[in-house]
Amino acid sequence: MKLVKPAAALLSIVLLAGCWDRLELNELSITAATAVDWDEKQQWVVSYQVVIPSAISGAMGNMKGGASQSPIIVYSTHGPTIRGAIQQSTFESPRKLFFSHNRVVVVSAEAARRGLEPLIDSYLRNSESRETVDVLVTEESARSILRQLMQIQTIPGEGIYETLRTENRLFSALPSVNMYELALQLLGSSHNAVIPEILISGTPEVTNNQMMGNTSLPSKLRLGRLAVLKEGKLAGWLSQDEALGVAFLRNKVERTNISAPCKATEPTLETSVRVERADTKITPVRRGDELTLQARIVANGTLLETNCSLDLEESEALRQLESQVRQRIIEVVRSGYSATQQLQADVIGLADRVHRKYPKLWHEVEPDWAARYAQIPLNLQVEFTLKRVGLSTKSFKKQFGQEED
């Protein structure tokens, strides 16, 4: 037992020697969002949206008088590589950049065209930057996205993240793609990936706190289209409807809203249905070396609104409604699929499935997969059941009509 005393002595000496990794909370600059641009001088421009804690939690206002200071500040640095650019920040920031709470990475279209490999590598390599950040792409400069303020959510970075999550949950057209999912898609057999787009609608940009006073802002942050990446580089865009079709094919639809006409003949969309569950099974089918894509979607939902004069208690009327909705879903899915075919980008994971189902065939097909994908026909089956019609048994139009005759 003589060992204890010397061991304790040594341990205490070690402790007194100091603490290396200590970083007080007030020595941190918490970044809520990061933006990556590629400027004309062939340099990476990395901008950070840094949160000012005291401005946000007014509760501790006694310290700073709570002057309406803007909750975030944005500054950017240039550098040959991404990490190089980030190191530049030490020249101007009094505090150490802290990326763990970073929610969103916005990449400019220019940088995306150049390829996202360096960004993914820097995120997966460092333990400090989490790979569960969401990736978004934007047409104009990513830096301007960061500067834009939001009304409901004080921290815009969080706001974008929440908007994407809610959209994903309630409409499921634009999937939320985080860094490791992006890597997963790019390293998949097809080397293609999809990222949602974010843009500022309206001008001028809202960048100072005073403007937050009025009830509606001149410009807002909005989710836009769906960007398609081929071999890690930006190849094209998909509209929201096409994005919904792709979401159906990728079986990523949690809940969405479909509006359909009363009859195939009338174009105007009169009925609105909320799709509550949609399971998609896509399997490549091989005949000889001809490949067709067999897709089967089983979905059900609730009727939200209809303007066709129907008595919903009769099953005939229900069947008519269901068929219209089914027709509409088929249109959406086909438009999405053909859009990806035009871009020759297999984003629905067909390559992986072919690789898994027909390994041998895959090795032959792999080299010119993009071209082959463009030719593969889609054989689509959709089943839709209307579970509930809400609180009234007849459409108001019918009741209205009946009253007259």
Partner: protein, 370 residues
């Protein structure tokens, strides 16, 4: 009843000597060779490892009456063999302890404490290990038992939390990799499982040394099972291609967990538990080295002296033998082979020696004992 180690505690010790650094290195090694069939190679490795463990357990179980391994050996096969065997084993345990310390420190530097100097980390760990060895193997084994329960709990927690993100389709096409790849994949886990050779030293401390085989076989099977789990989780979460890309997939797994608004970025909790298991591993290895030296040089009472000497040596060795990165591949292979040599070949030779010289050695032992 004699206050010795129960089977469960001994099994826990076996698990704790293999699992910690294996948790870090095995997934990458196995996945490099047999991408999406890696879990098959872990099953193969467990089978082979189980066989080796059975033999080691049987060999350890034969000296029933609690006399320390090397004394028993010298009694059976002559002092020279025991002396050489003791030295070799001591060197092996020492070098392996320093390697484990190296990997542990390099992981900590990357993930946990980037700017703390190595010397401090090594000093704290070695001091702790020396304190543990000072308290004796019985204490270490009991703590191993407690930590085993905690580790099993954590594994199930990870599975539950990650279940929603797993895609079974990443495992297909099963069997695409050739048998050669799968076998190559199985090599590293088998080397790591051979560390169960420490049962030779622990068995005499057991309440009923006869049950050594049961303990070590169960230990190796559980380790194999855990390894398979990690590999499966990594495969099903990241898919074969991304996993090759990551250096520490088992920790990457945990950093991806997102559950509810608040349960995010919780990999630090898992690293905390994993650190304790590494302390245990290094103290077990240090115990091996000290025990062997003590037995070979018949040093009664000099335990403290040996302990301090070995501790100092370990600190120096670990901090200076910092391998340059570029020869990592050869280095890793060489170390695996050394594991095989010392954990399987040396005990085999010792067994052979004790078997051949059975006539002269055991007669003396017989007289000695009656």
């Amino acid at each position: 009843m004699r206050s010795g180690l129960t089977v469960a505690e001994c099994m826990a010790a076996i698990i704790m000597i293999i699992m910690p650094t294996a948790y870090l290195i095995v997934p990458t090694a196995v996945l490099d060779f047999a991408a999406q069939d890696a879990w098959i190679s872990t099953i193969a490795a467990t089978a082979i490892g189980g066989g080796i463990a059975a033999w080691l357990g049987w060999f350890a179980g034969r000296n029933g009456d609690g006399e320390s391994f090397l004394n028993w050996l010298s009694g059976r096969s002559g002092r020279a063999i025991a002396f050489a065997g003791g030295l070799l084993l001591a060197f092996h345990f020492f070098s392996h302890a320093s390697r484990a310390l190296n990997e542990y420190i390099s992981f900590l530097k990357v993930n946990v404490l980037p700017t703390t100097p190595n010397a401090v980390l090594i000093a704290v760990t070695v001091l702790l290990a020396m304190y543990a060895v000072g308290q004796g193997i019985v204490t270490i084994a009991r703590i191993c038992f407690l930590m085993m329960i905690a580790t099993v709990g954590i594994y199930t927690a990870t599975i539950v939390l990650l279940y929603s993100r797993m895609h079974f389709s990443y495992l297909q096409p099963i069997g695409e990799k050739s048998i050669g790849h799968i076998a190559a994949g199985a090599f590293t886990p088998v080397c790591w499982m051979s560390e169960a050779a420490i049962i030779l030293l622990i068995a005499p401390f057991m309440a009923k040394p006869r049950q050594a085989p049961r303990a070590v076989i169960w230990g190796v099977l559980l380790v194999g099972f855990m390894m398979m789990f990690i590999v499966l989780e990594a495969l099903m979460l990241f898919g074969p291609n991304v996993v090759k890309f990551l250096q520490y997939p088992s920790f990457e797994l945990i950093s991806v967990i997102q559950f509810g608004g608040f349960l995010e970025r919780i990999d630090m909790y898992f690293i905390m538990f994993w650190m304790v298991t590494v302390f245990l591993k290094i103290s077990l290895l240090l115990f091996g080295a000290v025990h062997c030296l003590e037995q070979t040089f018949r040093v009664r009472g000099g335990r403290q002296l040996i302990l301090w000497a070995i501790g100092l040596l370990l600190t120096l060795d670990a901090s200076f033998s910092w391998p340059e990165n570029f020869e990592m591949e050869i280095e890793a292979f060489a170390k695996n082979v050394s594991l095989i040599i010392f954990n399987i070949l040396v005990p085999f030779v010792l067994w052979l020696a004790s078997y051949l010289k059975l006539g002269r050695g055991s007669k003396k032992a017989e007289e000695g004992r009656t």
